[in-house]
């Protein structure tokens, strides 16, 4: 009996926080998604059951927004993880000081305020004589308007890559140097050592970074909001999470539809859970947890 009460006592603070900030919002979202709460019905909301979900199914732009979301997540994820891996590998094989300096530099955007960071991108992408890209290429255009997807993916990817870069760097450093020496003696070129020894040993961090980034990309929309606000034109870069935000807080017609927005958020939760399960399956999570990531004798 005593054993359990002590354990409960230690678990209490953490559990309380989880319930308050994770579980409760999910439940509230689910409840809201079953109502027609909006600015106009604020004083007298009513239950609509699956109504909001039905509306989403039938909405004209739903397929486009889903497609945009998929495009955004996949492109940015590949850029993120690939770039992070590349940066980690390059800086790991540089002299230590140079590598550290380079990584510190790459971290700057992450600690820059989002709005400032987007302002810099807008500066880069503006028409001549204001935009750096236009000046350098001699091709004066508003790059955000012309190739919104490239800018959205790059702006997100440059920041996102630093996460993978840090994790992969520490994982590479944790590989005993004897393993790389052994590979060299066994006949491997540097490239073969990376491909056959380093990358397999990074399987766990790669899984973790991919899973984490997928989930955070699914729900992150602040850079798209600031860069294109879903445009140019109708919904050309509108992704699911941004659309939920638009519905709930910034509706075109001034009528913020909290109920519909909540339904969209709930759909995102389901997608996130499904994606996580797929990751765990593909990377054989159990086996990864079962043994040490890197063995030291």
């Amino acid at each position: 009996m005593r054993r359990w009460s002590v354990a409960a006592l230690f678990l209490l603070p953490g559990s309380l926080l989880i319930v308050l900030f994770f579980l409760l919002p999910v439940v509230l979202t689910l409840v809201l998604s079953a109502t027609n709460l909006s600015t106009t019905t604020f004083s007298h909301p009513s239950w609509v059951g699956w109504g909001n979900y039905q509306e989403l199914l039938q909405a004209r732009f739903t397929p486009l927004i889903l497609k945009n979301t998929l495009k955004y997540v996949i492109l940015t994820l590949f850029f993120n993880v690939g770039m992070g891996l590349l940066l980690a590998l390059i800086t790991a094989f540089l002299p230590v000081r140079l590598g550290d300096a380079f990584r510190a530099l790459w971290l700057l955007p992450r600690i820059t305020a989002s709005v400032v960071y987007v302002l810099i991108w807008q500066g880069l992408a503006a028409v001549a004589p204001y935009g750096l890209l236009s000046d350098l290429t001699g091709n004066s255009q508003n790059w955000i308007q012309q190739s919104p997807w490239a800018v959205v993916v790059l702006a997100n990817g440059v920041i996102g890559a630093s996460f993978g870069m840090l994790l992969f760097t520490s994982a590479i450093r944790a590989i005993p140097s004897d393993l790389l020496h052994a590979a060299a003696v066994d006949g491997a070129t540097t490239w073969q050592s990376i491909y056959r020894v380093v990358l397999p040993l990074l399987r766990w961090p790669i899984l973790f970074v991919s899973a984490y980034q997928t989930l955070s990309l699914l729900t992150s929309f602040e850079y798209i909001l600031l860069l294109t606000n879903g445009g140019p034109g109708f919904y050309s870069t509108e992704v699911w999470s941004l659309s939920a935000y638009h519905q709930a807080f910034s509706n075109y017609f001034g009528n913020a539809q909290f109920g519909l927005g909540s339904a969209m958020a709930a759909v995102l939760v389901v997608i996130g859970v499904v994606v996580s399960l797929i990751y765990l399956r593909v990377f054989n999570f159990k086996e990864l947890l079962g043994e040490p990531k890197v063995e030291v004798n």
Binding site: A184, E295, N297
Partner: protein, 349 residues
């Protein structure tokens, strides 16, 4: 299989300002097993990694069969190496670990299987080939590491303390196993160890290292019977040689008031007199008192007190029961004596 000849010429290594290896000359003959013996941190592994091409020498040259290989990539040096940590790839099973060098050479699957099976059978790990390194014992890991080094039939084998992680009993059998293998295959080998009995038992010749320098490079017998300086004399042999510091004058050695007659060939002035514990006999005129007696099984190691802080170690056959404090006489006449000058260098034959 043909072993290559290895020559190191003025080879040195510094990391930043620290000189880890002072210029070193050494030659290993084809098919020979040479041991690098020395205390921890004296540069044995560094020398091995220089030969392997993992480190670049700060000066000097490395020659395989007369050809300079200083700038040759490790993969092109035709060496097999067993690392101190074994360095097995944790994500591959033992089969793939052993097959790794062959896969890099793009050898056909059937041939890979044949060669891995053969070497695994030979080393007695055929039953555990499909387990990961983390799922087999230390002894099996060591064999797998050896198998990986041997499977590509290298002309030079580098072994960095391959037995240090094994328990005492396996270590003894592994010693003779490796030695037999090396002789059967005729591979030139360098074995790094800080265990002198291992070096003396396995090697054709031993290079004794201390702090980045080779003190002596000779056969085990030579090291034992004619150590070239006091470091080697004190390092090789278990229990180590007694080294008495004193003054030589005309057929006599004065050790802090005790006079010991010595044969000709000794240096003049201050120096060291060396005598091995097993060469001293009891029952002479030099009076001593027994300090402690350590039974070592077949023999007993006595610490004898000669007064004024002078002690001598003596090895005697087991069986004589002696009480601490007992008076014992010593006989040094007839015992092989080693002379060293004030700098510790051997004098005479």
């Amino acid at each position: 299989m043909k072993g290559s000849q290895v020559r190191l010429e003025g080879l040195s290594k510094r990391f930043g300002k620290v000189e880890v290896l002072r210029p070193l000359d050494l030659e290993v003959q084809p098919g020979e097993l040479v041991a690098f013996l020395g205390p921890s941190g004296c540069g044995k592994t560094t020398t091995l990694l220089l030969i392997a091409g993992i480190y670049q020498p700060s000066s000097g040259g490395i020659f395989f069969d007369g050809k300079q290989v200083n700038s040759l990539h490790p993969k092109d040096r035709d060496i097999g190496m067993v690392f101190q940590s074994y360095a097995l790839y944790p994500h591959l099973n033992l089969f793939e670990n052993i097959a790794f060098p062959l896969r890099l050479k793009r050898i056909a699957q059937a041939e890979v299987r044949r060669r891995v099976d053969q070497v695994a059978e030979f080393l007695g790990i055929a039953q555990v080939l499909f387990r990961r390194p983390g799922q087999v014992s230390g002894g099996q890991q060591q064999r797998a590491a050896l198998a990986r080094a041997l499977v590509k039939e290298p002309s030079l084998l580098l072994l960095d303390e391959p037995l240090s992680n094994l328990d005492a009993r396996i270590r003894l059998s592994a010693r003779s196993e490796i030695r037999r293998l090396q002789q059967d295959l005729g591979i030139t080998s360098v074995l790094v160890t800080h265990d002198q009995s291992e070096a003396l038992a396995m090697a054709d010749r031993v290079a004794v290292f201390s702090t980045g320098q080779v003190q002596q490079f000779a056969t085990p017998e030579e090291l034992y019977h004619r150590p070239s300086n006091t470091f080697v004399a004190g390092f090789v042999g278990d229990p180590p040689m007694n080294l008495l510091q004193g003054t030589f004058t005309e057929g006599k050695f004065d050790w802090d008031g005790l006079t010991i007659p010595v044969p000709p060939g000794h240096p003049g002035g201050s120096g060291y007199l060396g005598v091995r514990p097993e060469d001293i006999r009891l029952g002479g005129e030099i009076p001593t008192r027994l300090g402690i007696a350590e039974p070592l099984g077949r023999e007993v190691l006595l610490s004898l007190d000669l007064g004024e802080g002078k002690t001598l170690k003596v090895l005697t056959p087991a069986g004589t029961r002696l009480a601490p404090g007992a008076s014992l006489g010593l006989e040094l006449r007839g015992a092989p004596l080693h002379f060293f000058d004030a700098e510790g260098r051997r004098v005479g034959s």
